[in-house]
Symmetry: C2
Subunit: 551 residues, 2 copies
């Protein structure tokens, strides 16, 4: 390692890089930015959450000077309970993010042992050799920041999630002058969001969402049920404001919605009139035109409040004729099916449903589109661009866009160590990084082998063949028994299992009785024979597990 070089190391995520956790390494010091989790995709069967592999930080824990958090979304703070116990460093972040982190760490019993430093917008803090300026940016949660990280080697602008909304709900604009100032001083590297690099133009302002929501309220005569991410405090503020204008009370459904609203109110990020909020069990005391419900479930999550309402399964809320349900959130790829299923059920219960595809401005993204990304590039004018928060296609589109503007962008994978000096940026090594699948109570990672087994089981089921044999003579003492799960259909079941039994018996009975049997080979023979049988009779390849018990 070059002595005075800065190293940029994206550590988190599975297919995406660096959204969840990034390390800056300079000399003997490490600055960590964000510590988030990911949600499993369809192929991660039975996986609850995905956390970044923090081995690199754990190995170098003595060097970690601090953890800066850019905003309060789960994909930026959600892995703290898993990482902090192994990497006990002070946390630096702004007020609302700190409020959300505090709740989370309290839940895990980690708050008391955590050193947390609250930073104001625009403030600069010295963390070891890193001087970090917290620059306010617009995003889909208040209190979001980009970081200007000044080091003896040079300055990095770490944008994290941002957009340039000219008319944000809370009136707090992205601090363009702070970014421009960094650009004027000279920026070595721009570590930049790439979520919407495939979307042309600019993201519409949150103000347009307000107009669209207002129109919905104007037209609806029954209850209005709005679903959004629980962290989208500004959207929640919009819905509350408009509800008040139309003399509607507001009830909150879903634990995370209630929690986030409570924290945001306590910290002054959400303003609600004295009598506006009511409990869900109070809504029956009002006429439908006096009620707004804000609920979790915008992604069709099976256990969420909205999905329960749609299934007629919610304790307090039954969907009724005249309800208007507003989906004010973008479907995350892979969730479309679940969302459409929820919408079908809502229609069945008599609701009208307004989703972002039908009325575009009912929701806008929290991430900058292409022209905004270019604006960030023009403000900061970095020597090197490092696109993060994206899959391969995002990074590649960023690289091409930057190239057209005569900037050099560099593709990193998780774990790649980018060594940056004013002269050059080169990948010098690769550290352990990537995704750890968390499953059940186990904090240990779920291995690929287990996921492969689950995939195989999910497609074709399993057939277990059991026999008890005499170890000395190879004689069959009990069985073969055949048990199938998810593998063979009822009409064929008896015939196929009987035949499986017969073939296994044949193999065992053909063995020499002189004690020279190699049981591992027998197991393989049985597996092969049963595989072949199942392939012939059912056209399928279930997992075949032979168990030979020797006595």
């Amino acid at each position: 390692m070059a002595e005075n070089a800065l190293h940029i190391i994206p550590l988190g995520g599975a297919t995406e890089i660096g959204r969840n956790i990034t390390a800056y390494h300079l000399g003997e010091q490490i600055l960590v930015v964000d510590c988030g989790l990911m949600f499993p995709d369809q192929e991660m069967l039975g996986v609850d959450i995905v956390i970044p592999d923090a081995s690199f930080l754990i190995e170098n824990r003595a060097q970690v000077a601090g953890i800066c958090l850019t905003h309060g979304h789960e994909d930026h703070i959600g892995a703290l309970p898993y990482v902090l116990p192994h990497v006990p460093a002070p946390i630096y972040t702004t007020e609302l993010t700190l409020g959300l982190v505090r709740e989370k760490l309290k839940e895990y019993g980690l708050w008391a042992s955590t050193e947390a430093i609250q930073v104001a917008d625009g403030e600069r803090v010295q963390i070891g050799d890193f001087n970090v300026e917290f620059v306010h940016v617009c995003h889909s949660i208040p209190g979001a920041c980009s970081l200007v990280i000044r080091t003896p080697t040079g300055t990095v602008v770490h944008t994290s999630d941002f957009k340039f909304d000219q008319n944000p709900e809370d009136g707090k604009l992205t601090d363009v002058s702070a970014l421009a100032r960094a650009g004027d001083e000279g920026v070595l590297a721009l570590v930049v969001d790439s979520t919407n690099v495939d979307k042309p133009g600019y993201v519409l302002s949150e103000a347009t969402v307000r107009e669209a929501l207002d129109q919905v309220f104007l037209e609806a005569s029954g209850r209005i049920i709005v679903t959004s991410f629980a962290s989208n405090i500004n959207r929640i503020q919009q819905v509350i404001d408009i509800s008040q204008r139309y003399n509607r009370r507001v009830a909150l459904a879903g634990r995370s919605m209630q929690e986030n609203v409570r924290i945001a109110r306590e910290l002054g990020y959400l303003h609600v009139g004295e009598d506006t909020l009511i409990r869900l069990d109070q809504i029956e005391g009002y006429s439908p035109s006096e009620i707004t419900i804000i609920t979790t479930g915008s992604q069709g999550e099976p256990l969420s409040a909205l999905t329960r309402m749609a299934m007629g399964d919610h304790r307090h809320v039954r969907i009724q004729e005249g309800d208007t349900v507003v989906f004010s959130a973008t479907p995350i790829p892979g969730n479309e099916d679940l969302i459409l299923r929820t919408i079908n059920h809502l229609f069945k219960q008599g609701a009208n449903v307004i989703d972002p595809r039908m009325h575009p401005p009912i929701h806008v993204s929290g991430h900058a589109n292409r022209e905004e990304l270019k604006m960030m590039l023009n403000l900061t004018r970095p020597a090197f661009v490092v696109p993060v928060h994206g899959e391969y296609r995002h990074k590649e589109l960023w690289r091409r866009m930057a190239g057209e503007m005569n900037y050099l962008a560099i593709h990193l994978e998780n774990g790649d160590t980018l060594q940056v000096t004013p002269e050059e940026a080169v990948i010098t090594e690769h550290v352990t990084a990537g995704a750890v699948f968390v499953d059940g109570s186990g904090m240990s990672g779920l291995e690929d082998a287990v996921l492969r087994d689950r995939w195989h089981l999910s497609q074709d089921g399993i057939v277990v063949v059991v026999c008890t044999v005499d170890h000395a003579t190879g004689r069959l003492i009990a069985g073969p028994d055949v048990v199938a799960r998810g593998a063979i259909l009822t009409p064929e079941l008896d015939k196929v299992t009987e035949e499986a039994r017969r073939r296994t018996q044949e193999i065992i009975e053909a063995l020499p009785e002189d004690g020279t049997v190699d049981w591992a080979t027998v197991r393989t023979d049985v597996r092969r024979a049963i595989n072949k049988l199942l392939q012939q009779t059912t056209g399928r390849r279930p997992m075949v597990v032979p168990i030979l018990m020797e006595i």
Copy 2:
């Protein structure tokens, strides 16, 4: 049943109704329209295809006068090999559809025994008491028809899939005058597509796609690889025409693409210059700017030609720097993840990727949008509207749209028998209908129990506990052995299985040795004990299967 009433019975599909197969029942005669299949969704684990439950037709096979096919898409003809053997009725359809059906039935050895009648556009055929007029409509395959079904009781217009393209690729417009004529005579029921009832306005013309494709060809200097549905003959024609204009040869990848092009050419639905088509193994003989490849895989299907190319796994085609890959098809909900994964890999191999979301007019839908559906309604002016081809939300949106235009639309579920007379339309009974899951070679349906097992296995895996016991004394002879698959992570595996063994042993050893053991209860006890252990130690609930072998 009212003697002279007409009965409309949608029979096919899982969540959608009537896309795949619809029966018209009048007196002692049944007319069948279409006979298609569906593709499984994410939760149908290991299911290969989904066919409509044809029990109603099989039970009443003697009454089936004929099967009319509206067009050659799989969701309208794909279940013929499964239904025809049980319901041997004559098939009526137009030339290209018949060509595609012939290939399919030949493959299954059913062609020789099938009576097939070719019908010309605009022709009327008498099928029992049903007089059926085949009315040409625009769709994403040539030779598509709506049916005007005239009966003694009244007339039904069965639209099937359609749109009103004013500038279709093959110049053949939707036959508005035939539809208007039916409207002038009087229409009892309009059985109508609802796929795009949630999309405002009109579908853009195929001509706009031609312009967008032309632009891509103008700009690309390397090979161009276009992926679309193999049945989208008009799109294929567009790509071939433009390729010829830019002096590119065209190679076809994917079996269904090659087959469909062959059939369409033989029947004169696709026109290709003498030297244009080359084989895939010939492309190396040309420079990249002289090559177009048209390929299957627009949905990211893992075994498709395009996905193999993206994975560097295709026999003849390796993606190279400078390739432009054009996705000219709409992602089917649920396929987005697979498609995006393919796009990542294409970028990684050096290709540029153009997908319909980035350049909207690179693909247009084959299904009418809202204003076109209204036009169909205004042309036919039916007494009753029956929206089909949709899930609940589609039918409900249709009902509301029709209501605003003072028409009455009726919600049907699969199997609902709608009795229609000029006076009224009422649901009189419900016949067996819905979806049959086909899995492997079995033609029998896949039971819910098997799917539930697969779901359970996919989430938590399986733990099998095996012992050999003495039937008479209850004494443990061999085992317990514990085998886990997809259930327990390596770090815990030894400890957990050892403990499972110990607890099972405890249960068996506590049994009375007097031959009074109830082995079913023992099995339950073992299952409970192991469930509890796994829940405590792993936080998971794998499927637990105890096997007690008695000797």
